[in-house]
């Protein structure tokens, strides 16, 4: 298998560093941990790796209440009790009440898959540690039935984190880590082009000028990101606003700036 497997897709522009990171993770068969500002396309990365490599994608969106075991499988005891009470189905067959979670499915799959573990930092502090064994050995056991699930092909695991919580060292040791930097102007131009292919160069330049100007505003609580820029341009075009002719204020500021304090701050600076 060649090394340079992933090189972005038509609708997803990845920086060279990011492509390299994905390829290293695939070559070393280790999970890739991506962090970065919200809106830098962390979650989209997994979708596009799956598309570029032609592998199915399994998603596991982690929430604050998610337990590690749920990713492997869930044993629906209440359904079984219910069935035994009302005589529905074969209660003796426990396997019928075992439902595989996303990680379990990825390991049980006959062919290679891409597994996205989204926002791993949202769950309990110990959550990543509970996954260590399964990620290392790529196998797990369903205690209720005694079935041992062993992965035939190591899935490509992509984990995203918003940097909210520190992840445990033991977990980090097993990952390849990449921080998605906020795209520079040139890369951003290419990204916007993907979404608005027929945008005039001059207009794009003006938009980026305003956008990076906003991002550079000191003391901003939440700086606008890529997805907001794309929404903003979309709004500008739908309304047919010409940036060059609008004096002073920024039209549709609400698509870029999302907190009251920031709107106030931008207003003050515009006046000054």
């Amino acid at each position: 298998m060649s090394f340079d497997q992933f090189s972005g897709t038509a609708s997803y522009i990845a920086s060279d560093d990011l492509k390299h990171a994905v390829n290293v993770a695939v070559a070393l068969a280790r999970p890739l941990l991506v962090r970065g500002e919200p809106g830098t396309g962390k979650t989209l990365l997994a979708e596009n790796v799956s598309r570029a490599l032609g592998l199915p994608l399994l998603r596991w969106h982690v929430k604050s209440t998610t337990k590690a075991k749920e990713g492997l499988y869930v044993y629906d005891t209440v359904a079984r009790l219910h069935d035994s009470r009302f005589g529905d189905g074969d209660v003796k067959d426990i396997a019928r009440y075992i439902r595989l979670g996303p990680l379990g499915e990825a390991l049980a799959s006959d062919h290679r898959v891409v597994l996205l573990i989204d926002e791993i930092d949202k769950a309990d502090l110990e959550f990543p540690n509970d996954l260590l064994l399964e990620i290392d050995a790529m196998r797990f056991r369903i205690d209720e039935t005694g079935r041992e699930v062993v992965a035939r092909e190591r899935p490509i695991v992509i984990i995203t984190s918003n940097n909210e919580k520190e992840l445990p060292d033991a977990f980090l040791r097993r990952c390849v880590f990449h921080y998605i930097e906020f795209p520079g102007r040139e890369l951003m131009q290419r990204i916007v082009r993907v979404h608005h292919p027929d945008l005039e160069d001059k207009v794009l330049d003006q938009c980026l000028e305003v956008f990076y100007g906003l991002r550079a505003t000191p003391k901003l609580r939440k700086r606008p990101t890529t997805s907001e820029l794309i929404d903003w341009i979309c709004a500008l075009r739908k309304a047919g606003v010409d940036l060059a002719r609008v004096g002073g204020g920024i039209p549709f500021l609400g698509t870029l700036i999302k907190t009251e304090q920031d709107v106030e701050l931008i207003g003050k600076r515009a006046k000054a």
Binding site: F3, D16, D17, H20, A21, N23, V24, A25, A27, L28, R30, L33, R35, T77, V78, L81, H82, S84, R85, L125, N163, E164, K165, E166, L167, D169, L172, R173, R174, C175, V176, F177, H178, Y179
Partner: protein, 407 residues
Amino acid sequence: MLVDFLFEMRRHKLKVSTHEWQALMEALALGLHDSSLDGFYQLARLVCVKDISEYDAFDQAFLSYFRDVKTDALELARELQAWLADPHLLAQLTEEQRQALRAMDLDKLRELFEQRLREQKERHDGGNRWIGTGGTSPFGNSGQNPSGVRVGGGGQRSAMQVAEERRWKEYRRDVVLDVRQIDVALRGLRQLGRDGADEELDLDETVDETCKNAGDLELVFRPPRRNRVKVILLMDVGGSMDPHAELASRLFTAASRAGRFAKFRSYYFHNCIYEHVYEDAAFRQRVPVSELISHSDRDEKLVVLGDALMHPAELLDPGGAVYFYANNRTPGLEWLRRMAHHFRRAVWLNPEPDRYWSGTTVEVIGSVFPMWQLTLDGLAGAVRYLVRGGARPTMPNPSNWARMGIG
């Protein structure tokens, strides 16, 4: 030896283990570093560094280990860049040639590089010895030597330039914090227990009860797990704390967030704690400290936020309080001791950088309260101590100084 780079990284407090080092070696064997220093920089960072706050330390380690390579490259740069910029067609190497080239190690390579550089007088393309474009010499651009040193080119900034720039500096962990970071650090401050309304399905009990009920489904609920930690926050306001007011308010915002702790109380004081603390920052609502102590459970967590900087007399003398009407009969230090004694776990967070602590009242107070600087690291340390106990930070013994200070 490249392994020195591992120790260089560890010297810069990067948590690199053999685990990562082996992965890096594996990756190098697979040729993932693209046979260049830039590639190596990328690869080593991917595999060895796990947090953006450590990128800066990595840059420093990289710089100090590969410094020599860099100075050489810089001297070269001006002359070489020009003709390295237009690579000629790559020579197609045989497998044997590649094998032979692979054998060179970095030290030897560096040595050779400098030597060649001294000898070489002109532009060179192709061939297997001189620095130039194409060819199989270990030095130059667009060549095919797998263990070679790349000189510029590639259209990207070199690893050295990237490292030199140190643009990850602002992500370092030991700088001051915003509310969200404090939030995250405080999440560690919890001890879970079950109380409140029954909202969660208790599976084991449900099975038990259903069996006892002869198979008739009997659902059992229990209260969800909640944080049981109770926190008292004492904040120093005014005077020397004014520059830290913003930071203090961030800590307060994060700590007082609803639902964070089972119970949260906050009080204010000025400079040092004497008979009273205050419920408001304007010092109108007095609360006697003795009352505060007697009304608080020993297991509540006491967090004091202050710079602990004052005139020694304010801390050590009876009647030393800055307000003349608050003629305290018991010195401030004694009040601090009483509090530190009452609470099983109490910490002092100091916004003042720890390099300014020595030889001041900070050290005296630091010997009473375990003290951390209010940074991400410090806060994490304090939270760990509040939950699990364990080692407290060491303070130089202040007794000598204290004697001197009072005279």
